[in-house]
Amino acid sequence: MKKRPFKRATVLLLVSILVVSLALSGCGQNSSQNSSNQGQQNAAANEKIIRVTVSGTPNIDPAVGQDYGSCTALANIYDTLVFPQNDGTLKPMLAEKWDVSSDNLTYTFYLRKGVKFHNGDELTADDVVFSMKRLLTIGEGFAYLFTDVVKDVTAADTYTVKFTLNKPFAPFVETLVRLYILNKDQVTQNIKQNGQYGDMGDYGREWLITHDAGSGPYTVKELQQQAYLYAVRFDDYWGGWDKDAPDAFKLIDSTEGATVRTLMNNRELEITDQWQTTENINAMSKIPGVSIATIFSGTILNVMLNTKKAPTDDVNFRKALAYAFDYDSIVKLFPGSVKAKGPVPHDVPGNAADLMQYTYDIEKAKEYLQKSKYADKLDQYPVEVLTNSDVPDLEKIALSMQANAEKIGIKVNIVKAPWISIVDMMSKVDSTPNACIIFVAPHYNEAGSILESRYHSKSTGTWEQGEWLQSKEIDNMIEDALSTVDKNERFEKYKKIQEVLVDLCPTIWVLDQAERRAYQSDYMYWPGAELAKQGKPVTSVMGYNFYFHDFKIYPEKMKK
């Protein structure tokens, strides 16, 4: 017979489990009437809020933030002198108008009067001067757009500000969408002494991690690192308010598929991040009231070919690879995307529409390979293809390259590495593999940005240029175009650069990426998504597609 001396203890412990279970389940009943999950939904139903998931907690210091979440936050919290429109042009914002000197070196902006910061102070030219100087001094965030360009900035009077440039830089006004205007007095009052910036202490950096000093439509209410940024509407916003505009927005730091899907299903999220898998996006599209927005963001997927390393240093070899690339199959891996038509994405102003196209053509690939100096010694020169191990879809591209290259006798070795290793490998010409598969987006909305960051010698050694082109001719052409003020002339020069690049074939331009996001279309009006649905262009300036002031939200239409 079995000994069971601990029966009573077991009963006692079973009682305790019951107590624990009751305590855990009971708390659901005990909490106040609005603290249940349903309560959260009801709270959301009453609050006109737009919640978006982002990767990483936004950095809301205008001199520091530059990722997607940060750009979205900054576009809503701060105002800029000009504002990017969906058709690629700019409209006046804080600057009512501007003029340019005959030598194209001085830009004078005339500010709108009566614009209030969130603390009630009036925005003046001193604030613009302060914001630019702060950005240049700190040197982080979008400072690189101005460091080599801006010589000086001064306030001519209370409402007039003058920028003096080192050299003519035609897209200067375009870059000003990244100059977010801070309240000088407010920042100065919150400076932490003994910082690294001399008299300016820490330049308000510590304070600006969790506070704002802006004049934008929304003001920061709370920022919880690793959790969210919550901002509420600024009632005295100079631009006024539509009655259906959101009262608040929340950027939630999470891209976990299961989490995002659950939040969408529970109506606790209005727009997803762009990092969701195709499977997850498809699953969310089946939730009633949820639609999928497919929006081009100026991002292009490249296979960068190292032009200083054998065998990709041979132009014919590179062309052979370009013709042995199965573009259509790869585009299918990225739903909504389209085949790239050259170095500049089709939605970025200044792209050349009628460039020669490389297509999947094995016969042509063989033809070019025969012209290559490596034609007879292919076995000695395998091609090393680098992909980001964190992005599985990129490996599929490498595998496709491998299979197709084999058809013409080229051996492809695939190397997978995490992003930090890729950045390090690409810092030196010798350690940069023959081919690197990488997404790149422009820094401002014009072809000059992507041409400069991708093919000018000054970007070699960064992950933005695995080609190591280092061509004096291309450098001169890019610099010449960027200093050409006349837009038509400048765009013509961009076109010539693109033609030269296509002929040099330093890159296999794979596809123009479309961001796909699930969103609650039954109770929210998202201008960008609506335009995209109609096949119209949407701004590709990062963050500005989420200018929540122009959104509309109807909580009463929310389906439970």
């Binding site: 001396p5 659901g28 909490s31 400072a143 992003w419 390090d424």
Partner: protein
């Protein structure tokens, strides 16, 4: 006892210094310039150089370590490249979140491992034992993040009765920070709405973390109980007519807990480190998630701080485990006492 604790803590200092040297070197020799990573490819060189100078990256490795260690002694772990604020501020914010989660998880696996272990032993070779065995295999084999996703889909998606995101609902006023543990702080300040809300937010991630250790410990307890129940001393004390409760508590459960407590200690310490995926899934702003983000971004100061803090926690938990084992089994003399 006190002498033993002091001795262990003293030894611990050297262990922590060893860990700090190791992690300092490892984090700095892996590829990638942290300053360039933090500022982006187009940041002007002067900004990158300034940051490198600020972080002492322009100095030889031993000098870097000296400056870093000097700061750590003063409680300054340097600045995070990711959050742009002092690492110690991040730690103060994120450690309590992970601790709170680990404590509830630990509480759950101690209680339920004991119950399941007892039931399995008592009903050995019956359907109860068979069921718990199958559950144990499943529980141990499934990683905590899979359990987290399943719980999220069940209780967030299909049957949304429990909050699935963060530590507190947005409509609840958080208690003032005293310990950083929201449940504790809300009880101290009498904010019961916050207490119950925080507890509800804790349930799913705590269960996800507890499942694996729970079944592992239950199996160990079952084996130990079965092993001990057949020993002669149990027959002797039963023969002496000792009450069953005394036999249970004093002669059976106590020695059977010795191997379980060792594993529980290890499980508790390691679940804090392994919590990062569960924290990501439930958007839990904890230290494990912070540590992983730091590693992905090569945030050197944050990496070092997180690993040292986990090292210290591991050390403390081990000392506590040793003390409990010594109490459970008086034959074990701590430190040769």
């Amino acid at each position: 006892m006190l002498k033993y604790i002091i001795k262990r803590l003293f030894q611990g200092i050297f262990v922590v210094i060893g860990i700090s040297i190791l992690i300092f070197i490892i984090s700095r020799v892996v590829p990638g310039d942290p300053a360039r990573m933090a500022l982006g490819p187009r940041a002007p060189q002067f900004a990158v150089d300034e940051l490198r100078k600020e972080m002492n990256l322009d100095k030889p490795l031993p000098v870097q370590y000296y400056y870093w260690f000097k700061g750590v002694i003063k409680g300054d772990f340097g600045k995070s490249l990711n959050t742009k604020r002092p690492v110690i501020t991040d730690v103060k914010e994120f450690l309590p979140a992970t601790l709170e989660l680990a404590l509830l998880s630990g509480f759950l696996f101690i209680i339920f491992a004991t119950i399941i272990g007892l039931l399995s032993a008592q009903y050995r070779d019956t359907w109860v034992d068979g069921l718990t065995r199958i559950l144990s295999y499943v529980g141990i084999a499934i990683p905590s993040f899979v359990v987290a996703v399943l719980l999220l889909l069940i209780f967030g998606y299909l049957w949304p009765v429990i909050p699935t995101l963060g530590r507190l609902s947005s409509n609840i006023t958080p208690p003032p920070t005293i310990t950083g543990l929201i449940t504790v702080d809300s009880l101290i300040t009498g904010n019961f709405a916050a207490f119950f809300d925080a507890l509800k937010h804790l349930i799913l991630p705590a269960i996800a973390l507890a499942i694996g250790p729970l079944f592992q410990e239950a199996r160990i307890l079952r084996s130990a109980l079965i092993d001990n129940i057949n020993k002669e001393y149990i027959s002797v004390v039963t023969g002496y007519g000792l009450p069953k409760g005394v036999i249970m508590r004093k002669h059976l459960l106590k020695p059977s807990f010795i191997p379980v407590v060792s594993v529980m200690g290890l499980d508790f310490a390691s679940l804090m480190g392994n919590a990062f995926l569960v924290e990501s899934i439930f958007n839990w702003p904890g230290l494990s998630r912070y540590g992983i983000n730091a590693m992905l971004n090569k945030d050197l100061n944050a990496i070092s701080a997180v690993i040292i803090i986990y090292g210290v926690i591991f050390l403390i938990v081990n000392i506590i485990v040793d003390l409990i084992i010594a109490w459970l089994d008086p034959r074990i003399r701590l430190g040769g006492e």
